[in-house]
Amino acid sequence: MAEVLDAAKLNKKFGAVTAASNIDVNIERDSIVGLIGGNGAGKTTFINMVTGYVKPDTGTIRYGGRDITQLAPRNITQLGICRSFQIPQLFESLTVHENLLVALGIVVLEAKRFTSAAALRSENVEAVADETLSRFGLSEYRNKPVRVLPEGVRKLLDIAMALVVKPKVLLLDEPTSGVSADQKFLIMDMMMAALRADNVTILFVEHDMEIVSRYTQRILAFYEGRIIADGVPQTVLNDADVRKFVIGKTHAPATRGVMHAAN
């Protein structure tokens, strides 16, 4: 089927806060989708629910037709859905190389359970690790402990580790946050090139509207747990509600081209 991820009627409340309100969305295979919205709008909660870290109060999530709503994060990863984190989740006392070895080691260890990982044998691990490092431009940091890395590099490593599993679906939580403005496009280009080669369905949360409009085919706009707009970047970024609740007075200047068209 063309859809790979199907979320239906997702609801989630944390006490008095509504993090998800009747979320209904289908994601097509191989698409690139942007998730935008203010802080607390529910983007990260959506990712947390899809990856099993948080269970929705009601609703289901299906992956390739299979109900994954109640599965644990590690099972969902084994099925081929991976994520990166807003704050890079790394192994601080280990080097960049060792971080990747851990990631690859897990795939080797649990090889039978990973549905999409390429056949990875113990001997391949070192070679694959080095190849991944060069693909993401991290080779020069190979033996440095993670602690001393600049933020952009940490972000890249975080994403590289998520890719080790060769996921079919990748959810990126603010891949360019904390990265200096001049680095953002470089990193996104590098990442997208690395990803597109593997035919991965990508969803990413982003606050920078320039990045979102440049790299996505479709945008979901969140506000107070609801999806208030869903469509191609041109439409969504010009939507009145989106302008009011999301883009508004915050963040980077509105996208070129789109704004000029509106004016």
Binding site: F14, T44, N48, Y53, F85, Q86, I87, Q89
Partner: protein, 298 residues
């Protein structure tokens, strides 16, 4: 029927001094996020000091009824001496370190205090039996209890109410509750969290020592009582939830009753049964009965 009443009443008596000790432990954890392993030795110190004072008092032939005051003077002395000494002299330099490192620090204090007790009082057992029978006995459902036992229960209830009142009705108490609830936010709001540490630790120490002092007339005061107590106190606060005062009360009740039942029907499994109950509670409530919600990490 008398059997059941006996188990129940013994259980409540046991609950009482378990509560006094455990509430101090949980308070220290709640405010300072330190599990004070030395709490057991402070309890023992309270017992030893009380036993010594009582022994001296009676050897001078002073008014026997006034000896009760000693049971409350001893913990104050221990608290005022040991509390600030440990908190200002040692713990103060360790704040901010890993929880486990802090645990090791309190463990080191436990090791040191155990030997201090042995050095000062030797390894023979002490006895301060005199106050125990002094007030006479009374009859409950055909069973004989001393009025001392009743006094113990009353003190425990008073301690519970006093703490509860201070924490919810006084300004300082409410600030302390804020610190227990969320230390980071409290600091961000300008509360001088460190100032509370000294008071909390001293009060906690006094409570441990009070438990020991009140128990002294009933048992042989021996060096091993400290460690045996920390293992029990830990079960109580874990069952109730670390940092929760009502939890300490409920945990004390559960442990007190379970222990009483075990002692009556199957003494060999006394400690085992307490921990079995604890394990069962943890299976259903991993962080104890009154546990706080966990904040989101990612």
């Amino acid at each position: 029927m008398t059997d059941l009443a006996s188990v129940l009443i013994d259980g409540i008596i046991y609950t009482s001094y378990l509560f006094i000790i455990a509430v101090g432990l949980t308070l220290i954890y709640g405010v300072m996020k330190i599990l004070n392993m030395a709490h057991g030795s402070l309890y023992a110190l309270g017992a030893y000091v009380a036993a010594t004072l009582v022994g001296v008092w009676f050897s001078h032939g002073l008014n026997p009824y006034a000896s009760f005051a000693l049971l409350f003077v001893a913990p104050i002395l221990v608290g005022l001496a040991a509390g600030p000494l440990i908190e200002r002299g040692l713990l103060r330099f360790m704040y901010g370190k890993d929880e486990i490192v802090l645990l090791l620090v309190t463990y080191a204090v436990l090791l040191i205090l155990e030997d201090v007790i042995k050095l000062v009082w030797g390894v023979e057992s002490y006895s301060a039996y005199q106050p125990y029978g002094l007030l006479g006995n009374f009859d409950v459902a055909g069973l004989l209890y001393t009025k001392y036992d009743a006094l113990l229960v009353v003190v425990a209830i008073l301690v519970g109410f006093a703490l509860s009142w201070v924490l919810t009705q006084t300004r300082q108490g409410k600030l302390l509750l804020a610190v227990i609830h969320d230390r980071e936010v409290s600091t961000a709001m300008g509360i001088n969290v460190h100032r509370f540490y000294l008071v909390t630790f001293t009060v906690g120490t006094m409570l441990a020592a009070l438990g020991g002092a009140l128990v002294a007339p009933q048992v042989s005061v021996v060096p091993s009582m400290g460690v045996e107590m920390i293992v029990l106190a830990f079960a109580v606060v874990v069952i109730g939830g670390l940092g929760s005062l009502p939890g300490a009360a409920l945990g004390a009740l559960i442990v007190g009753l379970v222990r009483s039942a075990a002692v009556h029907y199957a003494p060999q499994v006394e400690l085992f049964s307490i921990y079995l109950v604890m394990a069962l509670v943890l299976i259903f409530r991993p962080k104890g009965l009154f546990s706080a919600a966990e904040p989101r990490k990612i």
